[in-house]
Symmetry: D2
Subunit: 227 residues, 4 copies
């Protein structure tokens, strides 16, 4: 079974194979979609990123029922000593009033182990699911993600999470250059700006699907009915 998607039915090479496919849930942390987190501190409308929660929840519940389907969560965050925080990233966050490493309502902003850095309860990782901690926007840089995917024989990625234009897109681009076949889900993603969310989805569709294909959770659920 394949998934209805634009610009091409996904994946390009036949039926979805749960053994070779991972659902990636990117940065669904309080810092990016919860009260008192980084995104709220920067003054953005939380509903734009939080709206991805329910669609991911429904999709995740279904996928957890399928034998052999891999689920990978990612978390952006820095070590408490901030050794993995580039100076310009820190400076920028300070300019916008939400300095990484400083105390906020949800603990030290974007720091590992703090409350704001945790994955939200609604999407808490279950036993058997993987978590990738990353210092950057991309999930491949400075992490063991590529090794884990290779060990598991995973070649296809379904991308969800936030924000569409930053961490999800950077991960999708890294994955695509490495030959992974990617699908991004419109309703399971969100950005700090709606126009940027839509543009990020549009960019994927250029050049016959330059980074992969675009779909939504309904289409995935439909395709998974047979499993």
């Amino acid at each position: 079974m394949q998934i209805a998607a634009t610009p091409y039915i996904w994946p390009y090479d036949g039926a979805v194979d749960p053994a070779k496919t991972a659902l990636m849930i990117i940065d669904m942390q309080t810092d990016f979609c919860g009260k008192g987190g980084y995104v709220e501190r920067m003054g953005y409308d939380l509903s734009l990123t939080a709206r991805a929660i329910q669609p991911i929840q429904r999709l995740l519940a279904r996928i957890r029922d399928i034998e052999g389907f891999t689920v990978i969560h990612t978390r952006e965050g820095h070590k408490p000593d901030l050794s993995d925080l580039p100076a310009n990233k820190r400076w920028r966050s300070r300019q916008i009033g939400a300095e990484i490493g400083s105390e906020g309502p949800a603990g030290r902003i974007l720091v590992r182990g703090e409350r704001g850095w945790q994955i939200i309860d609604e999407l808490a990782p279950a036993h058997g699911e993987y978590i990738i901690d990353k210092p950057g926007k991309g999930s491949f840089y400075a992490t063991d993600l590529d090794l884990i995917l290779k060990n598991k024989g995973i070649t296809h990625l379904i991308l969800t999470g936030i924000t569409t234009d930053v961490c999800v897109h950077t991960t999708m681009r890294e994955a695509n250059d490495r030959g992974y076949e990617c699908l991004i889900l419109a309703d399971c993603t969100g950005a700090t700006d709606e126009a940027n969310h839509l543009a990020a989805l549009s960019m994927v569709q250029m050049q016959g699907g330059v980074f992969g294909s675009v779909s939504d959770s309904q289409a995935v659920l439909k395709a998974l009915e047979q499993y």
Copy 2:
């Protein structure tokens, strides 16, 4: 001297230092902005990418006059045996009628050594400028770019070239995660879709400059007047 830019005057850490800064000119190849190349074969309006040529030319002419300023050109392309071409990238190009590796008006599409793959005459690399050949959209993946930048002590990148939303943005994201301080120039870039070009520039400006800052060639030329 710093460069007027949005959302912050660039770079964040003081005056532009030519010894630590590289002008990156991404994929200004016939395949992406010339007659008979890949982009034209896919049916896109060439003027959208070709419009970056003249602004880059003017900027490049000025930068070539500054002692110690590094210029790096990149070229997307695949080995003639296509061993570095992921199967899905090939499949997608075939669907859109411009199969990578097939014969086109400018030689084999996106293949190294072919006419379409060459950097256009207007921006031909000069002696002392570097060229990075890359199989993907990002300029860091599977290349020696990071090593060359480190060897030269380069920490700041001014990004130009095409297309804004694909290769320029992927490179900017990779660079930003690695701690490079990046500036993208609006008039020295272009995309196969104008809305995507504008959105790519907008995305950079979120979160206080999540990937760096945005400016144009006039602002850079003004800042470089003192050198």
Copy 3:
């Protein structure tokens, strides 16, 4: 001040600069030099690796007194779910009677969080020192080490730890290819086989110092007297 070393006084480019130099202490975990750990389970003579403990301790004590000197510890180990463990690495450890992930006297062998995986008490990381967790022999692959070194402006590495021929050497080779200037200390390293330890030190000295230079803790302490 420079350090007496073979085949060249280290570093090649002038006095040791504590701000640009890191002491790396590789894999000084119970699994590699303690009772009930991985190396003992494989049947090797513990004294061959444990002998590095005291020399590192003395050097570390001195370096901790120098303002601005960076200390980086590494730990080889795998996630409890073994997702980052290649199948052949697991198979080999099983053949030799010490399967990674299985229960041993010091907990699950080479698994993060277990007792055997901990850094030994004698060399426990102090506040302000960094720890790199790695799934492989090299400290750069699938980790954030390169990012941290870049953020700190570190360009020179003094390598200690175990085992000389496996994790220390792999890390030294990765670092050297990336342009880091490396020094390995004979008395602060050790291998499961003494001849391999000596050969590993010999290999460094070929071709004018193909991976860097070789010294010992006494020479480093002497060079650091001035600080």
Copy 4:
């Protein structure tokens, strides 16, 4: 069919599958085993590295007859502008009287395009074989090797070439950390020092085959008889 090897019959996971296996021939360039090259300039005995030529030739001839077996050659070398040459690597080569980039009897030492940098005639790559150009000792760092292996579905590597303890071993270590299953051939490798050659082979055999297994060309030829 498997290959007799130490410490385990190779590969660990069943019969050799030509579709998943690559023969890697590392740095069989004039600079490392020919008259007037880098190794001779440094004063080493050429016969120690050149002795690998004939065994590789015989093995290569046989493997070229097997449908679907991949052959990958590598070349160490630097761009003519030396931008990819770390400063310490250059300094060391100068100390030993064979400065990389300087004129030697076989052209500029270790520079791409020069005579000394070419693969020797006896092992000249044939049509359909791949060539990886690398600036370092490892074949994975700053190259597209991992991408090519992934594209081809190659998971097993048979390593030959020179020098055993430097470029072959560094490549084997990088490959092993990435999960590739490796075999190194004693008679198809060689080092600038015989003791280091033997020690490099010994190191592989520790810990149940810490980097893979060790064999020779006769054992491989025997195992390939059935194809």
